[in-house]
Subunit: 195 residues, 2 copies
Amino acid sequence: MPSETLNVGDQRPGGRAARVRSAVLQAAFELLKENSYYGFSIEDVADRAGVHKTTIYRRWPTKVLLVTDAARNHSDSRVPIPDTGTLRNDLQAFARSVASNIGSIDGAHAARSTIISAFQSEDLAEEMHTFWAERLAASAVIIERAVARGELPATSDPQLIIETLIGPLWVRLMLTGEPVDENLADRVAALLVGA
Amino acid sequence: MPSETLNVGDQRPGGRAARVRSAVLQAAFELLKENSYYGFSIEDVADRAGVHKTTIYRRWPTKVLLVTDAARNHSDSRVPIPDTGTLRNDLQAFARSVASNIGSIDGAHAARSTIISAFQSEDLAEEMHTFWAERLAASAVIIERAVARGELPATSDPQLIIETLIGPLWVRLMLTGEPVDENLADRVAALLVGA
């Protein structure tokens, strides 16, 4: 059992609580990449992060909540919402981030692991659906900004456009096994800008 | 053990061999819907179809080949390639068929079951990738016809357009859990025709 050296009562940004949070979420995501969801425990996450398991339970009462938060933390850092000033560049940048994430061996493994597990656990499925609803809502701002700039009609459906942008990337990961790469990202973005 | 009443040597269309083939593939698909890939055996398929297991092994030497063929048979009948005479109607009809298939409880279950199993078996993954490559190649004719009619430029990428059409449907099935229905199919088709 590792010694508890971090005080979660310290809430300053970049302070100990933030470092504990980051260490725990990173450990959880690493274990998710290396195993299936059912292949590790909260105790394993605590060991990997170097914290007591009670520290984890205090903040994440269930493994479902911990894993969903780990996915959220990973996506926020790996797939940021771009704001380049043009629709084309925003769509391209966003699709490239998604491709770089799920096109990597680690990212693909984590994505598959959460999807499989969500099929097998209603609790996890519900949390993952919430996670994806949040992600789509957050990225819809790309389309809203393009509407505000007059690049798209006001009748545009932000969520549908984002779903259509990322769709082919997930189709390749899930169905065809074909490469998910920058080239694909650029071609989908170009196709949708044509729309 | 059911009695073997069908002679697979009879190769006439609609003859006994065709009826055996159809019964076996339907039984395999039903078992795939009701279980995971690992939850049934070739013997179970034989029992359900009312044939001897040797009849199955003669035509499908492995369970992987049988299940992939069952998926192929199901898709050919449930998701036909439309030829309505216009790009918009073809895209809409195709997206509606896919939505009706994976949007149904049975279809969603079978899709999830094969996807999960393909993550866990390299042999099945390889066959499923081939299956999807064939499906995409077959449906690319929708785009090729539109190019021939002058509805799309000759530089169009048929496979990319089909991947983009079906992408949001699979994103909903796999990630967000939101409804996969005719309304979504129509909106994606309209979005892409705008492109």
